[in-house]
């Protein structure tokens, strides 16, 4: 496949994006970021040459877009294989069901569900306050820099949220922010931010995190307290019969409601078993929620294709900024 060699940084990045088509969107974002760092530095290091002259030699130094794309794909596969701790998957259905307790992802996901309430409140307040203040201040001159600041902080927060989600669920999220291109002017950059779909989906994600966080938190807390108290019930009864639960502990269970449970000898062990099953199901649910949430976050926070730099910026390489 011999296409025309790129003659500008934008062209190079566009070709690289095409070469990486179908790869993980987070990987594409990282690859574009790294390449842009190199290419801009290379152009800046050769002030006597034009951008197209520098790009002409790039295939022999940095590598052509297809070579670089290959390097990212290969390294990603190797790192993933090296980092993934091989986990023995039990064969039997029963083993698979209870094997969840050996999966660290389930625990972190459960923790994530609890944490979501806190982060949800913070994100919601940040997004609502930022949006309304930007809107309110837009009639004044400070409205514009305020909006810029709001969006910039929002992007940093979304990157951090992505790192958190990758750590929890193992779903690949960007490790580098999206670079907007310093070639753009101030107003062009604001225009690009307003037009960028991701700006709005990020804000929508932040706002949606409050109801989602409440939902996760309630499920996690309710599930944990019900299942753990069921599990604890036979233990507590046994301890109280042995007289280890303190004086008068037997009376607690004598008066415990409903009577038909505490009167029969069978009900309490059954409840205990039900608690274990419930707890195991909750762990499965937590892991599933973690995966689903990672998919949701990825669709909202990571651009499907990185934003296209406007064609007009092509000539305006930031040479002057040295």
């Amino acid at each position: 496949m011999n296409r025309s060699a790129p003659r500008s940084i934008d062209q190079y990045l566009r070709q690289l994006r095409e070469e990486l088509a179908g790869a993980d969107s987070a990987l594409i974002q990282d690859a574009l970021y790294d390449s842009e760092e190199y290419l801009r530095a290379e152009v800046a290091a050769h002030p006597e040459k034009s951008e197209s002259d520098v790009l002409e030699l790039i295939a022999s130094t940095y590598g052509a877009p297809d070579e670089v794309a290959d390097a990212y794909r290969d390294t990603e596969v190797k790192v993933k294989a090296a980092m993934a701790t091989p986990r023995k998957v039990p064969e039997s259905a029963l083993g698979r069901f209870f094997g969840i307790f050996l999966d660290p992802r389930a625990y972190v996901s459960l923790f994530f569900m609890l944490l979501c309430l806190a982060t949800g409140i913070i994100y919601f307040v940040f997004a609502v306050a930022g949006l309304s203040l930007s809107l309110g201040l837009s009639v004044l001159i400070i409205g514009v820099p305020f909006f810029l600041m709001f969006i910039t902080i929002g992007r940093a927060v979304s990157l951090a949220e992505g790192r958190l989600i990758e750590a929890m669920t193992g779903v690949r999220m960007p490790r580098r922010p999206v670079y907007q291109g310093s070639a753009l002017g101030f107003w062009a950059r604001i225009g690009a931010m307003l037009r960028d779909r991701r700006t709005w989906t990020t804000i929508a994600y932040f706002i949606s995190m409050l109801p989602i966080g409440i939902f996760y938190f309630v499920i996690a807390v309710a599930g944990l307290s019900v299942s753990l108290s069921f599990v604890a019930l036979p233990i507590a009864v046994a301890l109280s019969h042995a007289g280890w639960l303190g004086v008068g502990a037997n009376e607690v269970f004598l008066n415990a409601q409903p009577e038909w449970i505490f009167d029969s000898g069978l009900a309490i062990p059954i409840l205990g078993v039900a608690g274990v099953l419930l707890l195991t199901s909750l762990m499965h649910l937590a892991r599933g929620v973690g995966r689903l949430h990672a998919m949701y976050a990825k669709s909202m926070l990571v651009a499907r294709t990185a934003p296209n730099a406007p064609e007009s910026s092509q000539a305006a390489a930031p040479l002057a900024a040295r």
């Binding site: 790294d34 760092e37 070579e67 930031p318 040295r322």
Partner: protein, 125 residues
């Protein structure tokens, strides 16, 4: 055909070697380096012959960093996106020492066969 054979062999060789070289460069440096700087150091040492393309070091840097062999920090830059400066960690130095031993053994082993090979072919061709 010859050329693509050579290219593939070089690529296979580079798989682990790029990581070793990057660790060594960062271990020798007395200050933190960013991607472009490292690429240029390697290119200068290379003197024209391209053992590997500079674009291939970035993903490896990221992989080493993910493996806690390097730490990094971000510094804003005028010429482009913010730069990521890398520094080798203690764990990275330990791994480097281990890799160096492996590399030395491997090189000696390979040399033992290939050097005589060249000598025997050399005069006849």
């Amino acid at each position: 055909m010859e050329d693509s054979n050579g290219r593939k062999f070089q690529k296979d060789l580079n798989g682990g070697l790029v990581g070793l070289v990057l660790l060594a460069v960062l271990a020798q440096s007395d200050h933190d380096l960013y991607g472009y700087e490292i690429a240029k150091r390697l290119a200068n040492a290379n003197e024209g012959t391209s053992i590997f393309k500079e674009g291939t070091i970035y993903p490896v840097l990221r992989a080493l960093s993910a493996g806690n062999l390097l730490t990094s920090r971000i510094v804003p830059s005028y010429s482009g996106p913010p730069r990521r400066y890398y520094r080798i960690t203690e764990q990275g130095r330990a791994v480097l020492a281990e890799w160096q031993l492996i590399w030395r053994d491997t090189r000696d082993f390979v040399d033992r066969f290939t050097e005589t090979e060249i000598l025997s072919i050399g005069p006849s061709s």
